[in-house]
Every structure is written in structure tokens, then in C-alpha cells.
């Protein structure tokens, strides 16, 4: 046989594997007893989820008076966290969808766990507008249905676009995740016994691996990837228009859609790093989630973070250049008012510390990458806080200025969604393989045998 150059992506799977040993390795999180850190995460997540349920109960029984929202800060922590969580979800769809279209082989090790991350992040996000209504049992009022009052939703309002955007996003990311799971579910069905076999049997829908089915399956998978890509961008753009449509100083900017979208990608990739670095260590997945994968994720984080940093500076420039007094006063209030520490902490993380990722030394240092990924999420949280709370607390009329003080219910709702996110994800990787087995085996086959 003639000499063949190794595939350029050869080192995406490191170590000596055969298909069989690779599958054994990838199914370990599902088939072998869980490692101790998994139990800790599940327990902490579960406890926080219970606290979350309690704070939801308090909210529903006593009403929104238990929150710190006031006039004019009617959008408090809940909208901060809604935007924050939706943003975190974005990296999952991005890794799975855009990288499919670009035929980037390195996505195969990451797409499953990040898609699951998307699912739980969007679920966590979706609860916030629901409870913010105060009477969540009447959520169906936002749906178009014929009422006895002959009222319809107002489709010229970004708030009603938001409903449809979030629902579409949740549907498409769930279907995309599920579609990707089907072949793995069939494999698990054949390898397991008892209730697990029955569960995987039901969920795999009787997938047999028929070659013609595979051909249609790939066509639909790529099509859904192509559709999910603009949805990702549209969802966060619509969320940003909830703000940009308003006249509040600090919100009324046409640059909001790309601003929010790049922030979403930045925080999403940061959260993906926060999850993947420990997962890789605890399950010894160094062979399939290589340093090259993490390096690329860090590069995407840097690129999207630079977009965010650019717009921070642009916001200051526009406020000054436009010469609108309320807008400029808002900008100065952010920098020097009582919330200034939040603003400068955001600038420190998202503008200054971000620059470390230019250097391979920092990108390859996993401890720094892990710490930075957490800091980046804090930074993005601060950004949402700056946009929502700081803008609202300082509008046009000085008599109207009012600071915002979150209550314990606000904090518990926030920590609770983090708990729910961790709890859901840890259960997910126990029941479904966190790395797409069929795709990894396919990649292995392409890299090593062709």
C-alpha cells in the first residue's frame, strides 16, 4: 500500500483504541458506577433544587412582593438571570450546529454534553419570565388563542416575539439533541438489561442502523443544524430587542443584537469549559477531549469576548458622541455611581483578564482556563446586571432614581436554578452518554482507516 499522510485531525483522538475499546470508554459514565465527584455534584444540585422549589413556592403564595423589584427597577434579578441563562445555552447549539455545517471534526467530542447544557440552561431561563408574570398559571395569555374577550397577543411587541423565539429554540435544541441520541440509544438498548433496556428501547424508537435510514438521518441532521444556526442568533437578538425597543437610557441602542449574541457565545463557551474540564478529569477522557479541543474552545471564547469588549468601549463612545444628556448621565453613573464596583469588575474580567487568552501559555494552562471560565460567567452576569439593574435605576427624572436590593428569595431563585442545572446535567450524563458514541466511532473510523 502506498504511503499515506496521516489525516490532519489525526490527533483529535489520542491513544491506542479499537472501536470496541473506544465505545467501552465512552459508555463508562453510563455503564460503570459513578465516581465520587459526580455524587457530590448531584447532591449539591439536588439540595439547591429543593431550595429553588421552596423559593418558587414562596413567590407563588406570597407574590412578587417577596422580591426586591421596585419602581423603576421592575426588571430585577429574574430578567438578569433570564438573559444570563439563555446566553449560556447558546454555546451548545453553536458547537453542535455551526460546527457541523463547517465540518469541524473537533465538535464530535463536545456536542452531546454542550447540547445537554443548552437544554437545561434554556429550561432554567424559561422559568424566569414565567414566574415574573406573578400569576404563572395564566401564562397561556401570551399564546394566540381565541378568547371570550376577543383579545390577541400584540405581535408588534418584542415581548411576544420572545415567547415564540424561546419556544422555537427550546423545541429545536431538544429535537436536535434527541435526534443525535437515537443511534446511541439503540446501542445502549442492546447492551443493557432490565428497566434501562426498556427505557432505551422506547426512546430509540426501534432504530436498527439501516443504511438507508442513516442516509435520511444525516440529511435531516444537517438540515436541522442549518436551521438551528439562525435561530441561535435570532433568539438572543430578540431578547436584546426586549431592551432596545424601550427608551430607557442604556438600553436604546441599535447595537444590542450583535452585542447580546456575542456575549451569549462568550458566556456559553465559558460555561462549556467550566463543565468539560472537570468532566474530562473525573472520567479520564483526555484521549477524546484533548488539549487541542480545549485550546480551540479558548480561542472561540477569546474571539467572542473581544466582540463584547469592543461594544463596551463603543457604548461609552456612542453615549458621549450622541450627546444625549440622559444617555451620557447613565454612562457616568455606571462608572462612578453606587454600582461602580460592579461595572469595573465587569470591565476587569471581560476586557482585561480576557486578554490572557491571546497567549498559548495561558490557554494551555488548564487551571487558569478553568478559573477564567468561571470568572467569565461572573463577568457576563455582571454585564446583565449592568444592563438591567443599573440602567433601570437611573432613568430620565432624578426624582425617579431608586436603587435595587435583591432579597433572599431573589438569591435563592438564582442559586436554585444553578442547582437545577447541575442536577439535571449530572442525571443526564448518568443516563445518556455525555459524548456522542456513534459520531466518535465514525470519526475514529475516518481518521484511522482512511
Amino acid at each position: 500500500m502506498a504511503h499515506k499522510e496521516p489525516h490532519p485531525d489525526h490527533d483529535l483522538i489520542q491513544g491506542e483504541w479499537t472501536e470496541k475499546t473506544l465505545v467501552e470508554k465512552l459508555l463508562e459514565p453510563v455503564e460503570k458506577p459513578a465516581p465520587r465527584p459526580w455524587k457530590v455534584v448531584l447532591a449539591v444540585g439536588g439540595a439547591l433544587t429543593l431550595a429553588w422549589l421552596y423559593s418558587l413556592f414562596v413567590t407563588f403564595v406570597k407574590g412578587l412582593g417577596t422580591w426586591g423589584i421596585n419602581q423603576p427597577v421592575a426588571w430585577g434579578f429574574d430578567i438578569v438571570h433570564f438573559v444570563w441563562w439563555i446566553g449560556i445555552g447558546h454555546a451548545g447549539t453553536l458547537i453542535s450546529a455551526i460546527l457541523v455545517l463547517m465540518r469541524q471534526n473537533w465538535r464530535d467530542s463536545l456536542n452531546r454534553v454542550t447540547e445537554a447544557m443548552t437544554l437545561f440552561a434554556v429550561l432554567a431561563a424559561a422559568t424566569y419570565p414565567l414566574i415574573h408574570m406573578g400569576r404563572p398559571q395564566l401564562f397561556y395569555w401570551v399564546m394566540p388563542y381565541p378568547t371570550h374577550m376577543a383579545l390577541w397577543p400584540q405581535y408588534k411587541s418584542p415581548l411576544s416575539w420572545d415567547v415564540l423565539a424561546i419556544m422555537t429554540y427550546l423545541t429545536i435544541s431538544t429535537l436536535f439533541l434527541y435526534l443525535g441520541l437515537i443511534p446511541d440509544l439503540a446501542l445502549l438498548r442492546e447492551r443493557s438489561k432490565g428497566w434501562r433496556r426498556r427505557l432505551y428501547g422506547w426512546l430509540s424508537l426501534g432504530w436498527t442502523g439501516n443504511a438507508v435510514h442513516w442516509q435520511r438521518y444525516r440529511a435531516v441532521y444537517v438540515l436541522l443544524a442549518g436551521l438551528a444556526t439562525p435561530v441561535v442568533i435570532s433568539v438572543h437578538s430578540v431578547v436584546s430587542m426586549d431592551f432596545a425597543y424601550g427608551l430607557v437610557p442604556g438600553w436604546h441602542l441599535t447595537v444590542f443584537p450583535p452585542f447580546f449574541a456575542s456575549g451569549a457565545i462568550y458566556s456559553g463557551f465559558a460555561m462549556a469549559l467550566t463543565l468539560i474540564i472537570p468532566l474530562r478529569k473525573w472520567y479520564r477522557l483526555e484521549g477524546v477531549i484533548t488539549e487541542r479541543h480545549l485550546d480551540w474552545m479558548a480561542k472561540v471564547t477569546l474571539a467572542s469576548g473581544l466582540g463584547v469588549a469592543y461594544i463596551y468601549l463603543l457604548e461609552i463612545f456612542i453615549a458621549w458622541y450622541a450627546g444625549e444628556p440622559a444617555e451620557w448621565a447613565q454612562q457616568l453613573w455606571r462608572m462612578t455611581g453606587p454600582y461602580a464596583p460592579y461595572y469595573w469588575a465587569m470591565m476587569l474580567i471581560n476586557v482585561v483578564l480576557l486578554q490572557t487568552l491571546w497567549f498559548p501559555r495561558f490557554r494551555k494552562n488548564l487551571s487558569w482556563l478553568f478559573i477564567f471560565s468561571i470568572l467569565a460567567n461572573v463577568g457576563m452576569w455582571l454585564e446583565r446586571f449592568v444592563i438591567v439593574v443599573i440602567s433601570l435605576s437611573h432613568d430620565f427624572v432624578p426624582g425617579n432614581f431608586h436603587l435595587y436590593y435583591p432579597t433572599w428569595v431573589d438569591w435563592t431563585l438564582f442559586l436554585g436554578t444553578i442547582g437545577f442545572f447541575l442536577f439535571g446535567l449530572s442525571l443526564f450524563i448518568r443516563i445518556f452518554p455525555p459524548i456522542a458514541v456513534a459520531e466518535m466511532v465514525h470519526l475514529f473510523h475516518r481518521l484511522r482507516k482512511h
Binding site: 408588534k156 429535537l175 436498527t208 438507508v212 435510514h213 442513516w214 435570532s234
Partner: protein, 172 residues
């Protein structure tokens, strides 16, 4: 009762070659079972080019639904919001877009299941004792016993000749 024969090949090339030979010999009721999508399978088994067209049709339907929903509800309950025109179409773009994507996504997923005959409670090939191999690293051909050219001994011999390990799949 004999359902058919399951043949295991160790490479995709052998599978394609075997499918070609079986087709030439006049076998019709057979299925290729593979752990991954196999390139070149469309040349041997007939491919399916309908998906983009179905998706396009669903997209047109979605655009129509989205616009109809917004125009109908706006006319049914006319509301002057900030002096905007009653049917200000730029404001209708986001909802139309989302409903288009939603219609295609849900529709194409259901169509995929329909075209593939899923969900399926039981498939004879799954009854093969070594079936899990074709989900892992081998390539299988399942020849149904109901195929007009099927003959237990000669079909088995042919499959072995093509380089397969052969298993009889029976009930029970």
C-alpha cells in the same frame, strides 16, 4: 420460523461489494445495517432525495402560517401601538421567521420517522444473537427469508463467499 440471514462484514467496502453482488443476483428484500452512515450507499441502494423538498414545502407552509396568524389577529383586534401602521410588516418578521423554523423542524422530524418506518416495536434483524456488532464496528446485511431468490443453503454460501460471517435468525 426462519426470519432470514444476517451476514457480518468487517469493512464498509466489503459491504458495498456484497450489496452490489446481491442486487445483481436479483435479491430484493434485504437491508444493510451499519454503525455509521456509509458513503456510497446511494449507488447501491436507492438514495432518498426528498428531504430538501419536503423541508422547503414545510418552510413555505410556516411562512404562510406565521403571516396569517399575525395579519388575521391584527385585523381582528386593531390596536394602535405607538402610531405604527396597522400591518407594519417589518414588525412581523421575527414571528414569521420563528414559526417557519418551528414548522420545518417539527415537520421534518416527523417526516423522518415516517419515511424510516419508526417507531418500530420489533425488527427481525434485532433478534440476531450477534446483532450488537453492527451497531459497534461491523457492517451487516440482513436478507429476508421472504425474498424470492432466497434459498437457505445457496444464499448462505453466497454470503460466505463474499467474505461474511453468517447467522441464521429464527424466532425464539
Amino acid at each position: 420460523m426462519l426470519y432470514g440471514l444476517m451476514a457480518y462484514f468487517d469493512s464498509a467496502e466489503r459491504l458495498l461489494e456484497a450489496l452490489r453482488v446481491l442486487k445483481e443476483r436479483g435479491y430484493r428484500r434485504l437491508e444493510a445495517l451499519t454503525p455509521n452512515p456509509v458513503e456510497g450507499i446511494e449507488e447501491v441502494l436507492e438514495g432518498d432525495g426528498r428531504i430538501p423538498w419536503i423541508a422547503f414545502g414545510l418552510g413555505v407552509l410556516g411562512v404562510g402560517l406565521g403571516l396569517f396568524l399575525q395579519i388575521y389577529t391584527t385585523l381582528d383586534y386593531p390596536h394602535n401601538a405607538g402610531g405604527k401602521p396597522l400591518l407594519g410588516w417589518p414588525a412581523f418578521i421575527p414571528v414569521t421567521f420563528e414559526l417557519t423554523i418551528l414548522t420545518i423542524t417539527v415537520g421534518i422530524f416527523l417526516f423522518l420517522l415516517y419515511m424510516n418506518g419508526l417507531p418500530l416495536a420489533a425488527h427481525p434483524a434485532v433478534k440476531a444473537k450477534e446483532y450488537v456488532r453492527v451497531l459497534l464496528d461491523e457492517y451487516g446485511v440482513f436478507v429476508y427469508a421472504t425474498d424470492p431468490r432466497f434459498d437457505l443453503e445457496s444464499t448462505k454460501a453466497l454470503l460466505r463467499e463474499l467474505g461474511a460471517e453468517v447467522e441464521e435468525v429464527r424466532r425464539g
